[in-house]
């Protein structure tokens, strides 16, 4: 760990914490530019999980023996860390899930199926990842509610002027958006949308899978009602995520998964539900993964979220400048000052898979595809894009190698 002051980070020094980055791919140093899909893992997080398994592992909340108590302390301690990370009023409002997708499904099913009906509207955005699009589309269809999209401007930002027209179509009950677009990097105006949602009596649901790893999050300042994110995109393990929700809403809601642990009393005639957050955590939780999640939060806090955001911003500005020099590059998304460290682009006449393949020879790993955003791809009029994404361990010379690789692609494909 190497951090200078509070607002600057030393990516080169931080890389020593990430064993996976010290390898070669096809004889070249690995330039991992795909952190938006999943982030690499620091030794501190890996060690925390191993230590937990080696010294403190048992099932949580049920044993009376010392080891079970220790495991429960580790698990609940991680919940406290995750709650503080998003400035949740109470850790009881933080539910451990498998990932952001499961958190969003939880809200769509447990809140949506009960509260939506004909005449109501569910409003998502044209920028949504399928995880915050498909569950709402499905639940709207199941309940007879209408389903609307906030459209995008040509610049890749939400067109808020369309809001009033949407509200005229019915009673807005849900507004669902991501905080940061995984495909374009657009930072969405969640505070404004929360205000608009509440003015219409709707709930505000935020997919922060792409926001939480890269910027400080404050659910109270955002004014939202639910916020979901995944550990694996923020230096934590896969298999665990978190959903924060307002206590009053969570208490009113029906459960999502049913079974062990989530109950208060089970009788043949009737079962009653446990207290928050247990009501939404049926079965054995990803225990060690939650502990790893907590360790990842510790790691990000030590580096500093503001420093991470600033670092990525500098990389983004540099990448936009370097890529603009490559012949035939089409860039998507808003200007650098209104987006996170994600660059989506196409090369004229070359399919993204071919671009990514040539870059792979150079040891440069980027994503090529629809990024689970098919409505957005349709809006952009493309089948797929290339996407390079940055994190706290990304170096400017990796962006140089991306740019040089793209010149090489141009040469191969003429």
């Amino acid at each position: 760990m190497a951090v200078r002051a509070d607002t600057e980070l030393d990516a080169r020094a931080l890389r020593a914490d990430f064993p996976i980055l010290a390898q070669e791919i096809h004889g070249k140093p690995l330039a991992y530019l795909d952190s938006a899909v999943t982030a690499q893992k620091p030794r501190q997080m890996l060690d925390a999980m191993t230590r937990f398994y080696e010294t403190s592992y048992a099932n949580v909340h049920r044993g009376v023996y010392a080891l079970a108590e220790r495991a429960t302390e580790g698990f609940e301690g991680a919940r406290e860390k995750v709650a503080r990370f998003v400035n949740a009023p109470s850790s009881r409002e933080v539910i451990f899930t498998r990932n952001a997708t499961e958190g969003l499904n939880l809200v769509a099913y447990a809140w949506g199926l009960t509260n939506l009906g004909p005449g109501d509207l569910v409003v998502v955005t044209e920028l949504e990842h399928h995880s915050n699009f498909v569950p709402w589309q499905y639940v709207a269809r199941r309940t007879g509610a209408g389903f609307r999209m906030i459209p995008l401007t040509d610049g890749g930002e939400l067109d808020l002027e369309a809001l009033d027209g949407i509200a005229a179509d019915g009673e807005v009950k849900v507004v669902a958006t991501n905080l940061v677009s995984n495909a374009l990097g657009t930072v969405n105006p969640v505070e404004r949308l929360s205000g608009w949602a509440h003015d219409h009596g709707a709930i505000m649901v935020v997919d922060a899978a792409q926001g939480a790893p890269h910027r400080a999050i404050d659910v109270q300042a955002l004014g939202c009602d639910f916020l979901a994110f995944s550990a694996h995109k923020m230096c934590g393990p896969s298999g665990v995520g978190a959903l924060w929700g307002r206590r009053a809403l969570l208490e009113e809601m029906e459960p999502f998964n049913l079974g062990g642990h989530m109950i208060k009393k089970v009788q043949f005639e009737e079962t009653t539900w446990g207290e928050l957050p247990h009501k939404f955590e049926a079965g054995t939780s990803p225990i060690a993964e939650a502990v790893g999640f907590g360790a990842a939060v510790d790691y990000l806090n030590a580096v500093g979220l503001e420093a991470i955001e600033r670092h990525e911003h500098e990389l983004l500005a540099y990448a936009l400048e370097r890529l603009a020099d490559v012949p035939g590059i089409v860039l998507y998304g808003p200007p650098a000052d209104r987006r996170a460290g994600i660059v989506s682009f196409n090369m004229d006449g070359v399919h993204p898979h071919d671009v990514a393949q040539v870059l792979d020879w150079e040891g440069v790993a980027i994503r090529a595809g629809h990024h689970c955003c098919q409505p957005l791809m349709q809006r952009l009029g493309v089948a797929a894009t290339n996407r390079a994404s940055f994190y706290l361990y990304t170096l400017p010379e990796e962006i140089d190698r991306l740019a040089e690789g793209l010149h090489r692609v141009r040469k191969v494909f003429g």
């Binding site: 096809h26 070359v350 399919h351 993204p352 898979h353 071919d354 393949q357 040539v358 792979d360 020879w361 090529a368 595809g369 629809h370 791809m377 089948a383 797929a384 191969v412 494909f413 003429g414």
Partner: protein, 143 residues
């Protein structure tokens, strides 16, 4: 690794053989590879015996592998019977494409055209879809 884009692949990609559409084709189908959005439509006209492929054309868009492999396929099947093509194996096409160590994702790109062609012949002539191609309609969303 560089073999993936050896000259012949790039040549077929940039100058696809048999590119176009046959109006009133005797057999046709189209398919997409949802993973990367590759699209291929294939059209076949049979000769007087109603069995031998007299003309085959394709249209589509996608990555170099999918388009070049389909272009090579049209050269391979010209003059063969529908039944012969139904027995054409994946390996035979992959050998012709000549890319060693292709990743599973890219193999799907390379096989898109062959899958679409087999479905077209199956529909028009009832030629069998071999076991290894079962479910292909669905995977490639063949229409």
């Amino acid at each position: 690794m560089e073999d993936l884009y050896r000259e012949v692949i790039l040549d077929h990609y940039k100058n696809p053989r048999g590119h176009g559409v046959i109006e009133d084709a005797d057999a046709s189908a189209e398919g997409v590879n949802p993973l990367c959005g590759d699209e291929v439509s294939i059209y076949v006209a049979f000769g007087d015996d109603g069995e031998t492929i007299d003309e085959v054309k394709f249209s589509g868009r996608g990555c170099a592998i999918s388009q070049a492999a389909t272009s090579m396929l049209t050269e391979m099947v010209q003059g063969r019977t529908a039944h012969e093509v139904s027995e054409l194996s994946k390996d035979e096409l992959l050998e012709e494409v000549g890319i060693p160590h292709m990743s599973p994702i890219r193999i799907k790109c390379a096989l898109l055209g062959l899958g679409v062609l087999k479905v077209a012949l199956h529909r028009a002539k009832g030629t069998p879809l071999p076991q290894e191609w079962a479910g292909l309609d669905e995977e490639f969303q063949v229409r």
